[in-house]
């Protein structure tokens, strides 16, 4: 998922959303706010829940919500990666992990949660601070939109003849890059299968059918 996020960040930094919208309280903006509120509610519920099956279900919901949020932000490719990896694959992986370990999370003492909370808070503050310097959404003069991004937007209709610039960049301009990423994801999937799926370990401690 990190790889997908990195790839999409790379793409997102160089491909402009189609039209810069006037900042204001539009309907799409209100929908985005509602989606973010639902995301926050889901995250809090995931933290408070102790039964891991429910947490896995909620993580699927979280992925679907963030995918919808990415679509609302015009980042369709990121949204699709999130839906496939987050809602599809990682829910299944979480369930496999639950099958191999425990069904219920052990309670954690209050004192042990203080240090992680501080670390997360500081990181979040640094990230929010970093967003202050960022150019506005869809700003034509932003560095991400100015140089190679503009060239992609201008040349894609004549070079590649596909309507979507992101698709053109991913599948044609950076075809080898995407191929390498796909190989990496495939290898990771194979490793997960070897660890969790078709190996000798079955959930509940039953190792085989008594053949050995």
């Amino acid at each position: 998922m990190m790889l997908a996020a990195a790839a999409s960040a790379e793409v997102g930094s160089e491909v402009t959303p189609s039209t810069p919208e006037v900042v204001g309280f539009t309907g799409a903006f209100a929908v985005e706010l509602c989606l973010l509120a639902l995301l926050a509610a889901t995250a809090v519920a995931m933290i408070r829940m102790r039964r891991l099956f429910g947490v896995a279900m909620l993580s699927g919901i979280y992925s679907l919500l963030s995918a919808a949020f990415f679509v609302a932000l015009d980042a369709v490719d990121v949204a699709f990666t999130e839906a496939a990896v987050g809602a599809g694959m990682s829910t299944v992986l979480l369930l496999s992990g639950i099958a191999l370990t425990a069904k219920v999370e052990m309670p954690v003492s209050r004192t042990r949660t203080i240090a992680p909370l501080i670390i997360v808070g500081v990181t979040a503050a640094a990230l929010v601070y970093a967003t202050i310097d960022m150019p506005g959404f869809g700003d034509a003069n932003a560095p991400a939109n100015a140089y190679v991004g503009r060239a992609y937007i201008e040349q894609t209709p004549s070079d590649i003849e596909v309507p979507n610039v992101v698709t053109a960049v991913l599948a044609s301009y950076r075809g080898f890059d995407t191929f390498g990423e796909t190989v990496v994801v495939f290898t990771a999937g194979l490793a997960c299968l070897l660890l969790l799926g078709a190996g000798a370990i079955r959930g509940g401690g039953r190792n085989d059918d008594g053949e050995h």
């Binding site: 309907g27 799409a28 209100a30 929908v31 509602c34 989606l35 639902l38 509610a41 889901t42 519920a45 829940m49 099956f53 429910g54 279900m57 909620l58 699927g60 919901i61 679907l64 919500l65 995918a67 919808a68 679509v71 609302a72 015009d74 369709v76 949204a79 699709f80 839906a83 496939a84 809602a87 599809g88 829910t91 299944v92 369930l95 496999s96 099958a99 309507p163 969790l196 799926g197 078709a198 079955r202 959930g203 509940g204 059918d209």
Partner: protein
Amino acid sequence: MYWVASFAILVAMALMLVRAVKGPTVYDRVLSVNSFGTKTVLLLGVLGFLMGRPAFLDIALLYALINFIATIAILKFFRYGDLSGMMHGDDPARREAE
């Protein structure tokens, strides 16, 4: 009009979320996740028209496929305890029936 539709879907999503959090049984949770995926598909369709880009409908269709596979995987996990139960030919449901 699309706004009203999208807000109705968002309210439905919130209700699904409540059921996924509170849901007393596992089936409530599975059903809420599946239904949440359906709501996401609907929301994407409406958002496409709301933002003037009806091409989002294709993505919504793909989401429907992913949602279906995920639900099947969850149910299979819940029935067999792991995801490779069928590989043994060891079918608890069939065993119960015999």
